[in-house]
Symmetry: D3
């Protein structure tokens, strides 16, 4: 990850949470008092975001010591200690909420990603995320997806081509669209096309699309798509993906299943911070 961007995220969030100070802590806690705090799981899951949480405290007090007891992607049990923090009490109390907000969200994503990744274990299918991430936190959320065992789709509109129906219509067909894009964009960029039917699929394969998204197709149609494709393009299933459908779809040999819910509907993992001394 790019630490410079993460630092900006943390800086903006600390300003959001403290526009001029923590009026309770600045009044009641001695400026130089120090404490030992622990971060503990209150729920089993996959922990992600340890260095990000640690960075929150460091940005509030460069002398703080944040000791991660787990690594990003580790499974944690209810009650397990995740990290120890030693340093200025004021910094610990001021950073607590933001550190937990980030850690809980990232761990919530990773926990769900782990669950989904287990469903496709042993098959050749990958679960991928989408661009349905929280505005301005994409770098952290896509990292959590990877740590949970799933994979990333394109990061943004700049790093891969995704030809959708509006693009196709504007140009007059899949083949034309792919040809025009291939002539223009960098040779380092892959071209994905969204198709609604098997006819479109055949057109996209013929035009040598790198990746073809099977948009909202039923399992039977997807089965035929896999046969038609016969390993030429990377096939991606998308739309209305549930746990049950993941099982089914991965069984028929689709390469990628993309799931927006990995990031758009996150249940935070319950994690707490306690000062113990």
């Amino acid at each position: 990850m790019n630490q410079i961007i993460i630092d900006e995220i943390i800086k903006n969030a600390l300003i959001e949470d403290m526009n001029y100070g923590d009026i309770t802590t600045d009044t009641l806690i001695e400026e130089n008092g120090t404490s030992l705090a622990v971060i503990t799981a209150k729920q089993a899951g996959v922990v992600v975001g340890l260095s990000v949480a640690g960075r929150v405290f460091e940005m509030l007090d460069s002398d703080i010591s944040f000791q991660a007891l787990k690594s990003d992607g580790d499974t944690i049990q209810k009650g397990e200690m995740i990290a120890k923090i030693k340093g200025k009490t004021r910094a610990i109390l001021k950073g607590e909420r933001l550190a937990l907000n980030l850690l809980q969200r990232m761990s919530g994503i990773a926990t769900k990603a782990r669950e989904y990744s287990e469903l496709v274990k042993g098959t050749g299918t990958r679960i991928a995320d989408t661009r349905k991430t929280t505005p301005s936190l994409r770098i952290l959320e896509k990292y959590a997806v990877r740590m949970g065992g799933c994979h990333n789709h394109r990061f943004n509109l700049s790093d891969a081509v995704m030809i959708k129906d509006n693009h196709i219509e504007a140009v007059g067909g899949i083949a034309k669209a792919i040809k025009k894009v291939r002539m223009t964009v960098s040779h380092t960029v892959k071209i994905e096309v969204e198709v609604q039917s098997l006819e479109q699929l055949e057109e996209a394969i013929a035009a040598k699309a790198d990746i073809i998204m099977l948009d909202n197709m039923d399992v039977d149609t997807m089965k035929k798509a896999v046969e038609i494709n016969n390993g030429r393009a990377v096939l991606e299933a998308s739309g209305n993906i549930t746990s049950e459908r993941i099982k089914e779809i991965s069984a028929i040999g689709v390469d990628i299943i993309s799931v927006g819910a990995l990031t758009h509907s996150v249940k935070a993992l319950d994690i707490s911070l306690n000062i113990i001394g």
Copy 2:
């Protein structure tokens, strides 16, 4: 809301989603082509974030026309049209994902908030959010909570005092903490204290705390708390709040029930954008 901050949120998110351009759209869509698009609910709920979504498109093309067909806080049915957008096709396609990401998240929060607010209807109890919001989106999420019919707790560490166990311990008691804070902070600021027991409650009432948070108490203890308090401080229940408990707690006359899940575990409301002409 402060539009200047919202514009910064949108600007940062558009840079995140497009670090140098939308390579598909910039290649395939004519620079001056225009379209008409509609935003439609694919699920019933409460819609919030219309002006924010509209602003995304305006920042991409100052000539775009975004017409909201609903107002923030309105109930929407599955299939209902929410807004119309008319303008440059490129701007519509580039802004689509961010506009929906914001709209879906805000509407998801409002939909849950509406549900919770119905549970306390007719009682004098309010449901309030917490600081467990998405880093850098708090202004939008707290707005969604209000539009959904719930209420906000303090915005951040600067605008209200919240004395917790670590603060109490550092100073040597609730009364001392309240006294010290009252001498120091502005007369415009309210003082809230978190209590774990009825003894602490009595101490806090005696010290004239404005708000007292009953932290993780069972319903019977809270009932006694309400009696002891007898209308003096504002009482706030917090910790492990579920739909069932909301009903129970509001029945005994607690003033506020604060619920982190309103914002930390959001299910996005399903909303789509389609170019129709």
Copy 3:
């Protein structure tokens, strides 16, 4: 205070004062030359801003040592040494003006605040500042007010309600305005109302305003206001406050006297920096 915001203030000011370099110092002073400098009071007063001044030099040279010989809020005599700085001569010369500009302004505010706070000593009345602060330096100026022994009013438009005549007129009366606000804003926020007459005062008290501002009233009217209020709301006197009036008003038992001149018309305290070795 929020150090992240203070660092932004210093960074912006250093760019303002040195858009591409200090052409004199960069030419004439050796890159690695070091010096010892002292900051000295050239006038008696209350010193505030020591850590802020120190931070200016640290941001120019992370190895500099800034040793404060006084604490924020201390009384200083003419000729007293306030701080010692040891480090790169270039950093000392580049930071000198900004450090002094901040220190002199903050100490000027604190000195006046100390003077005003002495006037109300022994009474229950507080002197409070206003939002008439220097744009972008409010965090520092309100801190100086506190260190000088006065108190802060609300920080900004977000953290307390202040209902003024235009608001009252828009809604149709004080009672309506308070009721509407109370239904909407967080339970953690206090509600202040500005009143021009004793009738309005009674309406505000009846509507349970937390704070009532007596706007530009003469002493006799304020005396009656104190009697009518009888300890229910916090009473705040505002408008045309002079030293003489402070004495008078505090004598009649008003809780708060707010004084814009504390920050809008500051006389810098005379402080100098000298390189001594």
Copy 4:
């Protein structure tokens, strides 16, 4: 002035004054309600900052109409109307404080500058400001000085050379310092030297300094300095400048008198904003 920098100043200040919204106005004033407001002088003086004040409101509502009735630098009488504002009531109420804070400070500086400039009328002497300005507002304050009839000294450390005692000592003499600087800096930059004695003055003249600052000299010594210089360098008097001394010093033919108090100790000019319809 550089409007881009002024817009940044206003943006930062609006965020400072409203971290998430104006909770009173957003609750009580209709979103689309409009008003007419007037800005009026409550004290005679020189008004400066009209376009800056207008810009505050424009940044809150691009449709607002701000009509200045005076020009920057105009003399205003107590009670005179300065500007009319027509537009969204919410924007007027949210921008009022910042617009006045800027206008009052800039007009306060200009009023004092006008006073000083009158003292040297008819002589060849100019009153100049210093770098003792409010951090981050220098562009506005130096503009106010000019509009008040005084002059600017260098803007910052980058745009003119100012050789002070520490620089002289580091290099080993005034002549050496000037020579070294002249060899290094741009031919577009003037060189000023601070001298403490007439010997230093002669050395500086001989070395062809463009400007020589007579630091804290008494009037008799300055008189001799003017004679010795005989029109060769620009002579600048500095240190402990009072109204009386300005008269005296300008009489002896010093070119420039620089006065820190023009900006470091500003008395805000009393100006108010009222909604009248």
Copy 5:
């Protein structure tokens, strides 16, 4: 291109070129005076950057009218008029230098790119740029490359994999590196490997690298590489590319020739701006 990023580039550059104002123009040109200016080629070439240049003036005066007489990528002759600008004289004079600096640099790149693209006309070979661009102007420079008829390589370290010798060594071989990367990165990302020998080439082809960079190979070796590859991977020649070598290399069927000099050693195209009325 992402206009939000371009606006930031222009804003930063205008602040760089005018830290507090254009002291000549602000003094000598009437605030509301308007002019007509023309931008003219003083040298033949390919013009690029018209909308960027126009945006410079718009950001200084929103009412300015900038009329491009050419389109980006057009060939221009010496003496040809490129654009007309009508609006505030002050804005034209303040923006002139920045607009020309951008236009001349972008046109310089495009002119060279056009020259190179002509060399490969009729072959299947593309000329591509590199990451050797001017820090913070990459978005503009890569656009100029495209408009000149050449192609872009990856935009940055985030949007394509480029396995170099240090990566290969760290993992223990090309095959291992490709395998590890393929397992980890998004399926939307292409994998490029840099090879120094034909053995490495065969290893990379076997491991199904998408693109293989032939690093500093002589023409004979490259010829063999093309034969061995037989259309499987995209082959890219890199290192010491001159006009003569481009001819030779494209003749043997390499797909891509990447040329750092397209952006790292730019000769500005001579373009001038004149006020004509």
Copy 6:
């Protein structure tokens, strides 16, 4: 130089080059692996930018050690080692391109500046740069010019007056323009006037312009200009400056020759970075 601005340049450029991470390096290189790298000249020239290059790596890993083996402005031979870097391999690989892009550009400018400065050696003439610099890198480019042995012209529109034909025309003559400017701008600012003819020259001298730019004059006219001026104003030759003309012009005693090509058409100096252990 102002390190705060340089840090902003580097930060923005690192975000440009790595919007969410270096996907190759983050995948293949161990997080804590360290390496030793050397920076080597592949071409003879003048090296400049060592501390800037070092800062790139420090911002990616605060523990990295960057040891410059040369000083800014030193002549380097082909094959000479310039710097050693020891630290995290990931940081070295991520910073490599940006560090080289800056170093190569700055050294390219310095190398050309050295060449030009040699042409005027022994004469009293200086070669100066212009404002034709790369937008946002002016601080670095003007520094490289100085290190190469040439001189800077004004930094920007704020720090010196430059009266051009449009200004003259607007006011009605050179004398009027100079007079108006002198009355308005700071006494610390020099006034330069651009003249097209010897008549204008005489007018400018009579009006006591500090610097007079001889715009696009032939050598004979410039010779006469030197005679007419007779040492009164600083004379600057500008327009169509080539190596041959520099020799000629410096011979006739013009003080300054300004050369846009020093910065607008830079050939990067070839410098490489290699990990050696």
